[in-house]
Symmetry: C2
Subunit: 231 residues, 2 copies
């Protein structure tokens, strides 16, 4: 089944071992550029933009990362690591409810800090296999965190892991709409939501600082781009 003419038995290169020096350098530049663009604009940026930002030709980008999914996988591999380990850190907290809230806030903060990462977690997009593994790992840890926290009586019994998924989607919506005008608006949502998750009567987490009102409302009214007039 193996093609006969190839070199003897080079099994398969996993990461980036077989790359020449300059190729590896360009790969890094591409990753840095993609990280930059994804963080601010989301995953919608074109491959051509990434190549331009990286200062390489479009062909080079296509050669290094055949598909957009490959690029996304490579860019967000480390952040998915952080996402996956966040649950273990939360589980290490002696106070389950405290660990739970810190976990929720940390994940939502990660979304706010990188719009591309928010897209990776929620939006409809080709799921990279390598990222999926981390996601399910994180999911399993979160299930454990839930049961522990519910055992303390602080977390509602009807809270389900899917509620986190919904929260991530909701948070992504807030971030996408307010990123330019009120980048802390998401804290207000998380503050409300954590109160809703808590068992009535349990101690409530403090309200995060309210976003500046006018700016937030303008975020809804205002448009993607400023008025074309520049006097």
């Amino acid at each position: 089944m193996t093609p006969p003419g190839t070199t003897a038995e080079t099994p398969s290169r996993q990461l980036e071992p077989g790359l020449r020096a300059d190729a590896g350098r360009n790969r890094d530049r591409i990753l840095a550029a993609a990280r930059r663009l994804y963080a601010t604009e989301g995953l919608g940026v074109s491959m051509a933009s990434v190549a331009r930002e990286a200062g390489v030709g479009k062909a080079t980008l296509s050669r290094r990362f055949a598909t957009r999914e490959d690029l996304i996988t490579a860019v967000f591999a480390d952040r998915m690591d952080a996402y996956a380990t966040a649950t273990t850190e939360a589980l290490a907290d002696p106070d389950p409810w405290h660990g739970f809230t810190r976990y929720i806030e940390a994940v939502c903060a990660m979304q706010a800090a990188d719009r591309g990462f928010a897209d990776v977690l929620t939006m409809t997009f080709p799921a990279a296999k390598a990222l999926e593994a981390r996601r399910t790992q994180s999911y399993d840890g979160f299930v454990e965190l839930i049961t522990r926290t519910q055992a303390t009586g602080h977390l509602r019994d009807d809270f389900t892991p899917e509620d986190l998924v919904i929260l991530l989607m909701a948070n992504a919506g807030v971030i996408a709409a307010t990123a330019d005008d009120a980048p802390d608006a998401w804290r207000r949502l998380v503050g409300h939501i954590l109160r809703a998750y808590a068992t009535p009567g349990a101690p409530l987490p403090p309200m995060p600082e309210a976003p500046s009102h006018t700016a937030l409302y303008r975020a809804m009214i205002r448009l993607a781009r400023p008025a074309p007039q520049t006097p």
Copy 2:
């Protein structure tokens, strides 16, 4: 200032009076097509798609609605009416908290029913002047509804009108992510949020039916499009 060669003194055509019969017919077909596409795909659909769906030429669409904003304004005029009158209906409810929750649920349901409308309410997009008027009208009514509900003690004192804006953005995010797989997921978010808005100790609204679990989680994992293999 008026062009000299025109017919005597036709002051200005407000709606669609000066249109020829076939032109008006095409206008309606365009509006229907746009309504259809916007509802399912959001405001991102191209003008060419709208023209194709309407069965008219691209030029006709451009002639009838010069800019995308014009089209959006015309399409969502009636829904913005409903949005604006929803507050007055809520204010008519003898129980302010009941009116408040019904209002929240009604607006979020309108978002879920029409993805384009959700975009109009929240997403960054050129705000059509005609729609803005309705929006501020609705906003003013909502402020009155808030003060009344807070007076009953059911609604938290720190609830602000901007919280509704944030909720609309969050809801739009959930709807955008789950529309294809779990179109009722937004009810879960609203259920949580209304609980958070309520004063602790006040009677809680019933939990809406939970979305099917596997489908929801898949909505996060699954991709925009099904696998390209069609055997």
